[in-house]
Symmetry: C2
Subunit: 347 residues, 2 copies
């Protein structure tokens, strides 16, 4: 089906567009009362992720309610380790918890490369439903966690400020770490391909914990696996968002991906210069900026748009929208991007 | 009293020294069984901080047990907000918790600029004891949190991955935020001066949460108050450690401080270039590197020393030592710095 709004895809191809496209990381989620209504009817977050009809429903909500230029499939990065043999729970107000973790060679007996059609069919299934219901209104974004971030949870077992157990393994058992990262990478490539096959128009890889690795470790244990993913995915454009990977921006210039996501601490001009003109950039308003009043949000959004310039930019926040953000503030951000970026092209 | 080991002070003055000095952030603490023995005899972490004899005892332990070139006074950055009128608890395995927080103008009625001699006398008192007992063996480091980091805890009330409530205030009530930051700054200057008066040979300001601020906010709400502190402290050299402040390294070049601490994600060569030759640099081995075997620790420590070069460098980790680190691994790090940095000067 022909897309009616393909602004994001044209922007990624480097075309001059009539305005800057906009969406938000975590746009399908707790910021919308309509999401909470769906969620409350199910027993858990993970049940919502695994129920294609409901996942599709909340995926489409922000297109209707916020006016964004893309729908990102409602899911969770940790479905991949689960499909590899390591189940987890999502503890309310605390985050993910893995009862079993990977710390030694013996723990590998639990693991396999994920079989998508067996263990992860619900996400492609939800994407198919979204595509059908959207009728080409906006593109659909598929996604997965980057291998290092998935590894960090599989070893640590929970979120952590330091992920010191996961990072210890990189120093102590690098060969084992590479083996696990390769299994995650193989699973992730298959998972992303299945999402594209089901209809995802582009995909994004989230390296949420890139910023805790020293430069050499990021290059060796994270970036090389992200590069493998980028090299394997030819079917759709790919966006890489490596939060906090300041020191390695230069290296990311050579990633075979179309788009690089910037977090809200990254200087836009410096990043543009370091990453070169062949990449589209995505981001990067501070999520906390949406706590301000409407006038201030407009001002900061315009300043961000000016810094990126009109082309090769997909407007977004510099991280996922915070769950207690007022939906009207999100709409103000979206509307400001649409109106102001159109005016930028007239002047 | 004349210092017998003034390597750190000579390094800070830019002198050519016989070897690179070394100490570790959080060296006095849970890594040492001798610390845990003292701590277990007291009812709480905060009681230990407030008991000068015991605080002095654990301050000196790493000088004897690890062979470091400085003693950093055992204390906590959150004693300053407590002295300003906002008491806190340290919850085991969870971190600090403030029952009352600062979110509105009305909350200011709780607050005052800290009166050091009334409310914070225990730290200078402990420093006096340390100085007396050390008999000049090594210099003593005093410290305080940077105003933004203290502000973040006073507003948020606990540690947080996003400090979204504290950051919301910067967008919503910037005038109030500046007023609170100024009160913290005034308290901190008085506190650092009292520590120097009591005998601290140098002081360090820790901006642990610098890295979650967008560049303009770091410059406006953090760096300008750190600059005020640096300008006010003439009595001893000052080190600024702003974790994650990548985007603002350039601005930190112009801080009137002698030393800049680098975290483990900061590229040493880039930082040296950006910060210029007038600053001494401190850091920055990944704390997780001390989980490796001895050979690997030696290798990584030598690589770090090579990257910094022999002079204007104080060897340290890039963040506080992780509490579950083996003390023998810490000794390996310290010994490697001492031996290898001496050899670096021979070649």
């Amino acid at each position: 089906m022909q897309l009616k709004n393909d602004l994001i895809l044209r922007t990624i191809r480097g075309e001059q567009t009539e305005r800057t496209p906009v969406w938000l990381m975590r746009q399908a989620g707790r910021i919308l009362p309509e999401y909470r209504a769906v969620r409350d009817r199910l027993s858990s977050f993970i049940e919502l992720v695994k129920t294609p009809e409901r996942a599709a429903e909340v995926t489409i909500q922000p297109v209707d309610l916020l006016g964004v230029d893309a729908a990102i499939i409602f899911s969770d990065i940790l479905v991949v380790p689960e499909a590899m043999g390591l189940p987890y729970e999502m503890v309310e107000n605390k985050g993910p918890f893995f009862p079993e973790t990977i710390r030694s060679e013996a723990d590998f007996r639990r693991l396999k490369v994920a079989d998508i059609s067996d263990d992860l069919a619900y996400t492609p299934e939800a994407i198919k439903l979204v595509k059908r219901e959207l009728e080409g209104r906006v593109p659909v974004i598929g996604f997965a966690g980057a291998p290092w971030t998935i590894f960090a949870y599989m070893v640590e077992g929970t979120g952590s400020k330091t992920f010191s157990k996961a990072r210890a393994l990189l120093y102590n058992q690098p060969a084992m770490a590479h083996r696990l990262l390769q299994m995650i990478t193989d699973s992730t490539i298959a998972y992303l391909k299945a999402q594209i096959q089901a209809g995802a128009d582009l995909v994004q890889v989230f390296d949420s914990w890139a910023g805790i690795l020293p430069e050499e470790h990021f290059d060796n244990f994270s970036l090389r696996y992200i590069a493998q993913i980028c090299e394997a995915i030819h079917e759709a454009p790919i966006t890489v968002f490596a939060k906090g990977a300041f020191a390695s921006l230069q290296a990311m210039r050579y990633l075979p991906c179309e788009t690089i996501g910037l977090d809200w601490n990254m200087n836009i001009q410096v990043s543009r210069k370091v990453l070169g003109s062949s990449k589209t950039l995505q981001g990067n308003l501070d999520p906390a900026a949406l706590y301000a009043d409407f006038k201030e949000i407009e001002k900061n959004t315009k300043a961000m748009l000016d810094a990126f310039g009109p082309y090769q930019h997909i407007a977004n926040l510099g991280h996922g929208v915070y769950p207690d953000t007022d939906a009207d503030k999100v709409r103000c951000f979206v509307d400001t991007v649409k109106e102001y970026s159109m005016r930028m092209r007239e002047s």
